[in-house]
Amino acid sequence: MTLNPEFRRNLWIQFGETRVLIAGILTGMILLTALALDVAIASARNVVPSITVFVAHWTAIVILLFWAGRQAAGAVLREIHGRTWDAQRLSTMGPWRMAWGKLFGATSLAWTMASICLLAYVVASFWLRNPGGIFTAAAALVGYALFCQATGLLASLARLSGRPGERGGSTTVAQFFALIATGLLAAYAVWALQDQGSWFGFRIGEDALRLLTIWLFALWAMIGVYRRMRRELQMRGVPWAWLLFLITLALYAEGLAYGRSPPQLALILPATITMIVLWAVSVIEAKDPLALRQCGQAFRSGRWREAATLVPLWLVTYVFFAAVIGICFASALASDHRILRLPRTLEADSVLVLAAAFLFLTRDIFIVQCFTFGREGQYAGAYGALISFVLYFAVPVVFIAGEQTKLLGLFWPTGQGGWALCLLPAAAEAVLAVGLYLWRRRRYWRENAAVAPSA
């Protein structure tokens, strides 16, 4: 069996003498200092390595999330900036080998140092005679680390457009996305899964559910890296994996909401998670107006498969989100007949909230798309995120400060104030955003009509 060439190349680079020496000395010094402190403050007979446990655990966390996270986030971007990426794309390696060779190769030295820290953590915990939960904590840390690293690499790949000259990006931005995502996952696992030990009624246990959740997301992040790597290696395909991911998310959320109160949670939770994913993907995904136009042309001429290979993920998610909202409405309308056999029909307020959320999100997505058809299309995601921040946080804060909470419905899906106040502003903003998008798109293609230069 031959070693993955990409993994081996990374090992050659990562395990250079200087790197190993510096990393080894730093890690060793940190652990030995902690141990020395434990010994220094211990009584003559009993050394209690509590400082070592704490330091080893947190050093492993810092190494895996920040150092290895940065290495993973920059694994492809370094190749692009170093002009070696094209040579790698010309290889005969498959996307999975390339993906894991990069993910684990670029982080190999960091993982080695983190393993030493984790070993020190486990040994010191046993020494403390407090082994309870250490393997769970270590397994969770490894899961978080894999999620963070894979998400960083995925974010960098997702921001690559298909156009030469527009390719690249910032490792810091990709790592920032990964750290935010990991923070959200950790917050969710710690707080949202508290006292939550069953899924679709099956009793799993709180810790086990937490671990399964972390590893589920880590697994999907790695699948995402694989799928995006396929695209980079010019192996186009229908985005079935993304659709499967969305379905998995919805099912996961549905399983958690099952049998819980209030019953409408069973519909609102999947819709909320899909909403967050839709907003995130519309901001992060690379913007390629030409691919969008080619997708439209293929669709109109009945070349379905080609259209499916070109369709952006935000559009897939948007359609999926619309379907989820549709199911919610159906539930509300089917109150007498229970045709969908959903847990419980939604109350009117909940329907209003979902409808308003759909309209607001439509507005947000088309604002991002408006910027895509501008002069600085590469910053469309950043501009869209900034406008969302203003609309969802800055302006509402002003209303709240001025005690005008009734006006919050202009920018938040509050569900208050009846149909008129809840839906009309959201609908008007959505229509305005879609109109603006159509106008800018028409103007963009008029100005940048792709024609051969008239020589």
Binding site: P5, W12, I13, D86, A87, L90, A452
Partner: protein, 329 residues
């Protein structure tokens, strides 16, 4: 049989169409000089052939394989050197070449031989243990070329391979390209150094504004510049002893000349190929007081063809490229 068959390639950038209905076939064992002005679409064409970019429309087949359907299979048979390439500075020459051999599916037991053969071809055998960061610019270029041929591809695409090379290295590169073609490899070489392309090219492909202006064997292309077959032309090369301000002016006064191109102390003059006109041109030069040191019939020159077709008027270009891959639209 063609090793490459490209049909109706279209590639768009937001503000321009880089390739506009480009179609052609490349014969095995040939060396094609790909020339054209900046922004003509040369690099885009090479990147599409290398399956690094995907055209909006059209189809490319390499050895009968549809490159869009089977990009990995195509990469087994293809080598590509980008005009802006990078190297792994922390790795040695041996490691760089071993890596490229491995990612092109060369089995572990065959990698050592492949690495040594590529290093030897590019005169890198003595530098095999040196880190890429320690190499000179020319040595780095040679390493980059060695990486692209380490798996003995059937088709090699070189984008500006001579950039940054000293004259000796350029001469060696020309020899290597000719040697690779003799070994059965097919090459497409894009370069701005037109005078070098003619040393080894068998075919010339001129692209302008995303359209194929001409694609022919070099010898055939030469005759096209002169005009119709009944007025067959030849290119005479004249060398003079020292630079002369009046060189071009004197030659321009020779009435039968259809085109004159002066490069320092040498000039290319297109005239009817009959003996009297040749004698008359030499007499004209001597009588003009030029210190003629050389007077030979030139073979087809890429540079002349390029200037005549690619940078010439649109009408001229079109009328003289009647059987280029596809008539311009």
């Amino acid at each position: 049989m063609s090793i490459i068959a490209a049909e109706d390639l279209v590639y768009d950038y937001p503000r321009t169409r880089a390739l506009d209905g480009v179609s052609f076939g490349i014969e095995r064992g040939t060396i094609t000089a790909l020339v054209g002005p900046n922004g003509a679409g040369k690099t885009t064409l090479l990147r599409c052939l290398a399956v690094l970019d995907r055209p909006a429309a059209g189809r490319i087949r390499l050895d009968g394989i549809d490159v869009a359907e089977h990009p990995r299979e195509v990469h087994r048979k293809l080598g590509y050197l980008s005009d802006f390439y990078g190297l792994y500075d922390d790795l040695t020459v041996r490691q760089c070449l071993t890596y490229h051999a491995a990612i092109h599916d060369i089995a572990a037991d065959g990698q050592k031989d492949a690495v040594e053969r590529a290093a030897s071809r590019m005169d890198l055998a003595e530098l095999i243990g040196r880190r890429a960061a320690q190499l000179s610019r020319g040595q780095r270029q040679r390493l980059a070329i060695a990486q692209s041929i380490v798996h003995d591809p059937a088709l090699l695409l070189l984008d500006e391979p001579a950039a940054g090379l000293d004259p000796e290295a350029r001469w060696k590169l020309s020899s290597l390209i000719a040697e690779l073609a003799k070994g059965g490899m097919t090459l497409i070489v894009s370069s701005h150094i037109l005078s070098e392309l003619e040393d080894y090219s068998t075919h010339v492909m001129i692209i302008r504004g995303g359209r194929l202006v001409l694609h022919k064997p070099l010898a055939e292309a030469s005759s096209e510049i002169g005009g119709a077959a009944e007025t067959r032309q030849t290119c005479m090369r004249i060398e003079i002893a020292a630079p002369d301000d009046g060189f071009e002016r004197f030659l321009g006064r020779f009435a039968p000349a259809t085109r004159v191109a002066v490069h320092g102390t040498s000039a290319s003059v297109f005239i009817p190929s009959d003996a009297q006109t040749r004698v008359a041109l030499l007499r004209h030069c001597v009588q003009s007081g030029l210190l003629v040191t050389g007077y030979t019939e030139d073979r087809a020159r890429v540079e002349e063809i390029y200037f005549a077709l690619a940078q010439g008027g649109e009408d001229g270009g079109k009328s003289k490229a009647g059987d280029a891959g596809k008539a311009p639209r």
